[in-house]
């Protein structure tokens, strides 16, 4: 069972504002999807997990300075900017 409160809590974790209508819709969908995911309860615990499929370990490159973005390029896609900086929302509430 998934409660509306859990949906709101998850939306808060994900930083997505949702309406009451959306919360109820997501609640129903999450219930059926999570119910399907419960099939994994059958899987034995005693198996090593695989987080990535390549046999790669500690991939390094040479520490050579190269070209990087100019300040203008870095700011090109930002809507809010000021004096060569990104302008973000207030962080102290």
């Amino acid at each position: 069972m998934v409660s509306v409160e859990e949906v709101y809590h998850t939306a808060e974790l994900a930083k997505i504002e949702i309406s009451g209508e959306e919360a109820e819709k997501f609640r129903k969908e999450f219930e059926s999807i999570l119910d399907y995911f419960n099939i994994l309860d059958e899987v034995e615990e005693d198996v090593e997990p695989t987080f990535q499929v390549l046999p790669l370990r500690n991939v390094f490159r040479e520490d050579k300075p190269g070209e990087c973005l100019s300040q203008d390029e870095a700011l090109k896609n930002a809507t809010h900017k000021e004096e060569g900086y990104f302008k973000g929302p207030r962080v102290v509430e």
Binding site: K15, E17, F26, F37, V53, K76, N77, G88, R90
Partner: protein
């Protein structure tokens, strides 16, 4: 259209006229396969080709690029409102390689929003229609990349495949599509959805073209730390192979009827047996848990500050981020981010995410066992014919359509979709799965199947 046919056209009419004709076809098209058409840039490149100034293995060949692959100064939206104004300041590694070989990037192909979907219906820019039936979907998430190759709105295309997103549209549009081994193609500049699963791959109208495009895009790139540093070269051969039919990968009667006919044809040249993969029962659930979890982390970057959709007024950070994301993301993307956040949240990590990664180990074991016995494995690419638009309204029903394609991404293996004719006037695809870095075997086998089937 094959590259050979395109070259003949260019020889007869010049590259400029050939490209102009293609651009006109795109303009009149009902498929909605492009988000951005690079008209001026494509025509300029064509002129350059006609002057003899464009060289390389893809010189003068129009290529469509999926809209989650970064193209410098060209809109790259991921089919999302949240990136609807985003122009990358750099090219993806694969785009650098295309340009180096003289390819003409003709446009940015429509797709499911952030590649999350099986039908291209989640695109902010509207659904891509199937070239063989406008009331049906072209597949997803690389629906635009599949449709343009089928409808001669490009000669080649690039897609990306996280759980079947190249193979599904290849199957539904009757073209060839390859999901390469994880690490063969650099993901630098591919806007991430689920990093541990996805690869960029080629789509084309014949095996030779598919192989050439893979040769161009595969190879070393230090900017992707999961890059295997391997090159790819296509070497034709006609080996007799041991072919395993995967029992757990099936389809409805229409698809299985065709699949069984194809198997009979394959038996003329190859040894065919059956193989069972018990872990596949859990693969779909494991795939979605991993993909959603990675998505919830990856898509945290969209906050309306450094790029993308922004609100006019900056507010407190919680309210601002939550509002930007509420307005900028579509429903399926929100669903996956939230389910991923849920699966990773305190108390559920062991139940969902860790368990899913254990299933991954089991899936890899099953494949390893199968490849001790067989050279390639086969199945229908999709369990059904192209869906009607709107047919998969329920999310879980849509997820289940990926049942034959997701185990490959969990294991990081390569897989090919080969068109095997039509049922009820709709294309059907055969999926061919190979061992790690066995793309050459897959392509050669795919070529044989095509020849046997059409012959």
């Amino acid at each position: 259209m094959k590259i050979a046919e395109w070259k003949e056209k260019v020889e007869n009419h010049g590259c400029y006229d050939a490209v102009a004709e293609m651009l006109d076809r795109i303009e009149k098209s009902k498929l909605n396969a492009y988000i951005t058409v690079c008209r001026d840039q494509a025509l300029r490149m064509a002129e350059k080709y006609d002057r003899g100034e464009l060289n390389g293995r893809l010189a003068g060949v129009p290529v469509a690029v999926k809209d989650n692959i970064s193209t410098k100064d060209v809109l790259t939206t991921c089919a999302s409102k949240i990136l609807s104004n985003y122009r990358p300041v750099f090219d993806a590694h694969v785009v650098e390689r295309l340009k180096h070989e003289g390819a003409i990037i003709i446009g940015k192909a429509n797709m499911d929003e952030f590649a999350m979907g099986t039908t291209t219906e989640t695109s902010y820019y509207g659904v891509v229609r199937n070239p063989y039936d406008l009331e049906r979907v072209a597949g997803g998430s690389s629906g635009g990349s599949g449709a343009v190759v089928a409808a001669d709105e490009a000669v080649l295309s690039l897609g990306s495949d996280t759980g079947g997103s190249i193979r599904c549209p290849a199957s539904f549009c009757g073209v060839y599509g390859l999901k390469p081994t994880y690490g063969l193609v650099s993901r630098y500049g591919l806007i991430p959805y689920a990093n541990s699963l996805e690869q960029i791959g080629p789509m084309a109208d014949c095996i030779e073209d598919l192989a050439l495009l893979l040769e161009v895009i595969a190879g070393k790139d230090v900017r992707d730390s999961t890059n295997a540093g391997r090159e790819f070269r296509f070497v034709p051969d006609e080996k007799r192979l041991k072919v395993g039919i995967v029992k757990e990968m099936g389809g409805n009667d229409e698809v299985m009827g065709r699949f069984n006919e194809v198997v009979e044809v394959i038996k003329q040249h190859h040894e065919v047996g059956e193989v069972s993969m018990p872990s596949f029962k859990y693969a779909l659930a494991a795939y979605y848990i991993i993909a959603m979890s990675e998505a919830s982390s990856n898509l945290a970057r969209y906050d309306g500050v450094r790029y993308g959709f922004a609100l006019e007024k900056l507010d407190s950070w919680r309210r601002y981020f939550s509002k930007v994301r509420a307005e900028g993301f579509g429903e399926e993307v929100k669903r996956r981010i939230m389910l991923g956040s849920y699966a990773l949240s305190a108390g559920y990590y062991g139940k969902y995410y860790l368990k899913a990664q254990k299933v991954r180990t089991l899936v890899i074991r099953d494949f390893r066992r199968a490849f001790e016995q067989y050279d390639v494995l086969i199945s229908p690419t999709m369990p059904a014919l192209p869906f009607k638009i709107g047919e998969l309204a329920d999310p879980l029903t849509m997820y289940k359509a990926d049942v034959n394609t997701v185990p490959i991404n969990l294991a990081g293996l390569p897989a090919l979709s080969v068109p095997v004719g039509f049922v009820k006037k709709l294309p059907v695809g055969l999926q061919v799965i190979g061992n790690y870095f066995s793309e050459n075997t897959l392509l050669n086998f795919g070529k044989q199947v095509s020849e046997l089937w059409s012959g």
